[in-house]
């Protein structure tokens, strides 16, 4: 073997994914006027943030983090969010839709309106408020079928709508970031990562994630076929409902009343990965949001401006 002489080296799939994501982020920074990174504190956001730090090192990532808050995230998420902003040296912007604040919109009383107002409307308002023209998001193509066909640079009209029929062709690693003043771009640098890639990368790079991803005894109730965690005293218990301590963890994180837990004993990252690999249900099954509105619900939400 003349492997040493030839100096060629097969990049691993994670090295290639990493290099691609970094390339995408640098293109945005070079061509956008006012970019921002949407930070949801989940595992995908954690990887995206880590990639941003790699892309611009030794500079801190030259854009702020934006958390579109619903006030209903898990407490652990708020804690990690503040810690990561400090560690990365980036500015953290937290936006809460003032109308939703005023009306006290919550997932228990308002159903789909909750996601609509806090997340979809909140995001649009935040982007308009700060005048961001490109927003990084941590969506992956393996998550959901409408995402499987979305571009890395995804165009939004002046009123933030996505038009799946009219996407720009995206060839090689050439991204077209040109747009008119009122339009904006959602950019997905980890489009080509899978759930396993994300976990593997977190493991290899020792990236901090919310402890809720690991199993622990937590107070839960079973409701409509889902295991919900009672994260604070805002959780309205129904008659006959008594929180039960169960060893649970979460595969995805969102608003705690909308996020189903799985019973698990996986306390370490390898154990979590092990469980994920042996599991038989897809990742977003624990999320209510994908289901209301039928089969194409995510696509519909995206068209309306949801990430």
């Amino acid at each position: 073997m003349s492997k040493e002489d030839s100096m060629t080296r097969t990049l691993t799939h994670l090295e290639r994914l990493e290099a691609e994501s970094i390339h995408i982020m640098r293109e945005v920074v070079a061509e956008a006027e006012h970019p921002v990174m949407l930070y949801s504190v989940g595992k995908d956001s954690a990887v995206m943030l880590h990639l941003a730090r790699k892309a611009f090192y030794p500079s801190p990532p030259p854009f702020p983090l934006l958390h579109v808050d619903t006030t209903w995230k898990f407490r652990d998420m708020y804690a990690l969010r503040d810690r990561m902003a400090t560690e990365s040296g980036m500015e953290l912007l937290v936006y809460q839709n003032p109308e939703a604040v005023e009306k006290g919109i919550n997932p228990f009383d308002h159903g789909p309106l909750h996601t609509d107002m806090w997340k979809t409307e909140g995001l649009k308002q935040a982007l308009d408020h700060y005048g961001f023209d490109v927003a990084f998001g941590g969506a992956r193509r393996d998550e959901e079928k409408s995402r499987a066909k979305e571009r890395v640079f995804s165009f939004r009209s002046a009123n933030h709508r996505w038009d799946p029929k009219n996407q720009r062709p995206e060839l090689w690693n050439l991204y077209n970031a040109k747009k008119s003043k009122a339009e904006s771009i959602r950019c997905f640098p980890i489009s080509n990562w899978t759930e396993l890639d994300i976990w593997q990368y977190i493991h290899l790079n020792d990236i901090p994630i919310v402890p809720l991803y690991f199993a622990e005894k937590r107070p839960t109730v079973e409701r409509d076929g889902m295991l919900l965690m009672v994260d604070d005293d805002r959780f309205p218990l129904r008659e006959s409902e008594v929180p039960v301590e169960r060893s649970i963890r979460f595969r995805t994180l969102g608003c705690y009343p909308l996020t189903g837990a799985v019973e698990s004993e996986a306390k370490t990252l390898p154990e979590v990965i092990q469980e994920m690999l042996l599991t038989t249900t897809s990742e977003r099954q624990g999320r209510i949001i994908d289901k209301d509105g039928g089969d194409a619900s995510m696509e519909k939400k995206k068209q309306e401006g949801y990430f």
């Binding site: 097969t10 799939h13 790699k54 090192y57 079928k145 062709p169 995206e170 690693n173 092990q274 042996l278």
Partner: protein, 633 residues
């Protein structure tokens, strides 16, 4: 499903750390599947996902229900439904688009670009193919090589995919017949040769039954190759090939956190780099030495093609976004005019001469496209005359940029040879292109410096070199007048040479026919020869119909300013046809000669020729006299 390729469950359950260790060393192969639903493409992808356990229980439950409801496979699972999750969107009238799917085996991770096969989705297929290392071209064993097989192969080859797998599918429906398979492969080989595909790997499979997918099938004992998955696991990825090429990195961003640090960030397009390497910044040509390769995980001793890094140089030299860092003694070319293949991707057709944004690597310049030299019929590979390119149209045209750009031919570098065109009004991406070669070299290209320069050649001959380019209809009198001009110049002691169409075709261009491309190539070669002769100090006379402005302009741009003298031998068609010295017009009118200029192929007269000869007013003798006068004036 007891296939060892996917049998990782045991390891996952018993020793997750060992599994993770093995998993993190997997390489990545990106491939594209080409074929229509009828060829079993969706079934094949569905099977790959299913066999590699990429389908979860909830998805499988939905699939089983769908299979019974609308499936075409009786009570069996219809894998096609899994992939055609886009079917719902199709019903809503959404453009069928590239979908990316992911699966993994023991040895590799895979990203499949699942692209639609119909002609109206050519642009989608090109998009999916642009990032692929390999293409799986599906053929229905019952149908053999079809028009769409040819189209898919042409597109895959056009976009530069080196690894082509010809998957002859549905072998179960032809009783696993070796003869059927061999005949299809032989058929395909003839076609592949004709479009320049040098090698491909053929395999008999059944996506539905699973033959030769993960393991060799007992149904095809005559098949000596590998099963599909094994081939996909072992084929060499482009990344390895790229590492063997000279170092190039397009600078994306200058990293300047403080006054003490200045690094150049980019993704290495080809080659390898390490501290101490001498590099050149293009287009300026300035050189420096790599001092550090910086990453968050620490400085690197070496970086290779595909990696995103930040490079620091030993000297404070100018370098910014759009520049290219390259190995100093083997830099890429810099030019501002090119021949390129263009795939049009917009509903609004190409407008020749209109400025578009051109993005190549990290360079963004303004560019204009000349009317295409020809368009390719993607079904027959015929070259057709075209004035523009419509949606999904593929053609070859001259691209001019408003300033020189750093580039490499596409077949050497996807990164420095592939570009997109952007509409300046709508900002839409309207086309993708692949540069073939430059037509006009920019000044800071490093030519082999010759001690005896072209000026020295000319001085010794006591003349100014020139190319007199005679253009006009067949029978206009080009050769006659050019001959007279040469005689007169010769008598005056000038060093001349006459390049005549017929003579050149007996030798230099005897491999060329009379198709559109061949005629263009004919002119290009003649142009190059004329240029070399002018470099040697000669006065060159070329007599060619050369009906298209684009080609004449191409030759004009090969020459130094003022040395190309276009002589339009202007004879009306009626007059030329009346003379019909060689009897060609009669044949053309009778339909015996195709693509005859003036009859069924256009002649584009020069707009501003240096010299125009009206043969209805001037005799050949007088015309020659006039040309000599003007030349020596």
């Amino acid at each position: 499903m007891t296939d060892p390729i996917y049998q990782t469950d045991a390891l996952i359950a018993e020793d997750i750390d060992a599994y993770l260790e093995s998993h993190q060393h997997k390489s990545l192969l990106r491939f594209i599947t080409c074929g229509s639903v009828d060829d079993g493409k969706s079934t094949l992808i569905g099977r790959l996902l299913y066999d590699s356990k990429m389908i979860f229980e909830d998805q499988l439950a939905a699939l089983e229900a769908d299979s019974k409801r609308v499936g075409t496979q009786g009570q069996e699972i219809d894998f096609a439904l899994l992939v055609d999750g886009l079917a719902a969107e199709r019903e809503q009238g959404i453009t069928i688009d590239v979908a990316y799917r992911f699966f993994t085996t023991e040895k590799r991770k895979f990203i499949v670009a699942d692209t639609p096969g119909h002609e109206q989705y050519t642009r989608n297929m090109v998009t999916g193919a642009s990032t692929a290392d390999l293409a799986v071209i599906l053929i229905d064993a019952r149908k053999g090589v079809l028009t769409q097989t040819r189209r898919h192969s042409f597109l895959a080859h056009l976009i530069g995919i080196r690894n082509i797998v010809l998957a002859v599918n549905k072998m179960d429906l032809v009783d696993y017949s070796q003869k059927v398979f061999d005949d299809i492969v032989a058929d395909y080989r003839i076609f592949a040769d004709s479009i320049g595909i040098q090698a491909f790997t053929a395999m008999p499979i059944s996506g539905f039954k699973g033959d030769n997918i993960t393991a060799l099938s007992p149904n095809t004992p005559w098949y000596q190759g590998k099963p599909l998955i094994q081939h996909l696991e072992e084929v060499e990825v482009d990344n390895i090939v790229d590492q063997a090429k000279p170092f190039r990195m397009a600078v994306q961003w200058v990293n300047r956190p403080n006054l003490d640090f200045r690094g150049f960030s980019g993704q290495i397009a080809s080659g390898t780099v390490k501290p101490g390497d001498e590099v050149r910044v293009l287009p300026s040509g300035k050189t420096s030495t790599v001092s550090r390769i910086v990453t968050l995980d620490g400085d690197l001793a070496e970086a290779v093609a595909g990696q995103s890094v930040t490079i620091c140089l030993a000297d404070e030299i100018d370098c910014s976004r759009g520049d290219v860092l390259a190995i100093a003694d083997h830099p890429p070319q810099v030019a501002d005019q090119f021949e390129a293949s263009i795939v049009w991707m917009s509903d609004e057709h190409l407008i020749p001469g209109r400025p578009y944004w051109l993005k190549l690597g990290t360079q963004m310049v303004s560019a204009t496209i000349q009317p295409p030299k020809y368009q390719v019929n993607v079904n027959t590979m015929e070259h057709l005359a075209a004035r523009t390119l419509e949606l999904n149209g593929i053609g070859v045209a001259v691209v001019s940029t408003d300033k020189p750009i750093v580039f490499e031919p596409y077949d050497q570098s996807r990164t420095l040879g592939g570009f997109i065109l952007i509409d300046r009004m709508t900002n839409a991406t309207v086309a993708a292109g692949m540069l073939h070669f430059s037509l006009r070299r920019a000044q800071n290209v490093h030519w082999q410096a010759l001690d005896v320069s072209r000026e020295a050649h000319a001085v010794m001959k006591n003349q100014t070199p020139a190319v007199l380019w005679f253009t006009g209809l067949s029978g206009a009198g080009k050769s006659t007048i050019a001959n007279l001009v040469e005689k007169k110049l010769h008598a005056l002691g000038k060093h001349t040479f006459l390049l005549d169409g017929d003579n050149v075709r007996h030798g230099l261009n005897k491999d060329l026919g009379f198709t559109e491309t061949d005629r263009i190539e004919n002119i290009r070669r003649v142009g190059e020869v004329a240029r070399l002769m002018a470099d040697a100090g000669l006065i060159v006379l070329s007599a060619f119909i050369s009906p298209f402005r684009a080609e004449r302009d191409m030759v004009r741009h090969m020459m130094p300013d003022g040395e190309f003298i276009e002589v339009h031998i202007d004879t009306p068609l009626a007059e030329a046809e009346k003379r019909d010295v060689k009897g060609l017009y009669k044949k053309a009118r009778a339909g015996e000669l195709k693509n005859f200029t003036g009859i069924d192929s256009p002649y584009e007269p020069p707009e501003n020729p240096e010299i125009r000869i009206d043969t209805t007013k001037l005799s050949p003798e007088d015309a020659a006299e006039l040309i000599v006068e003007r030349l020596l004036a």
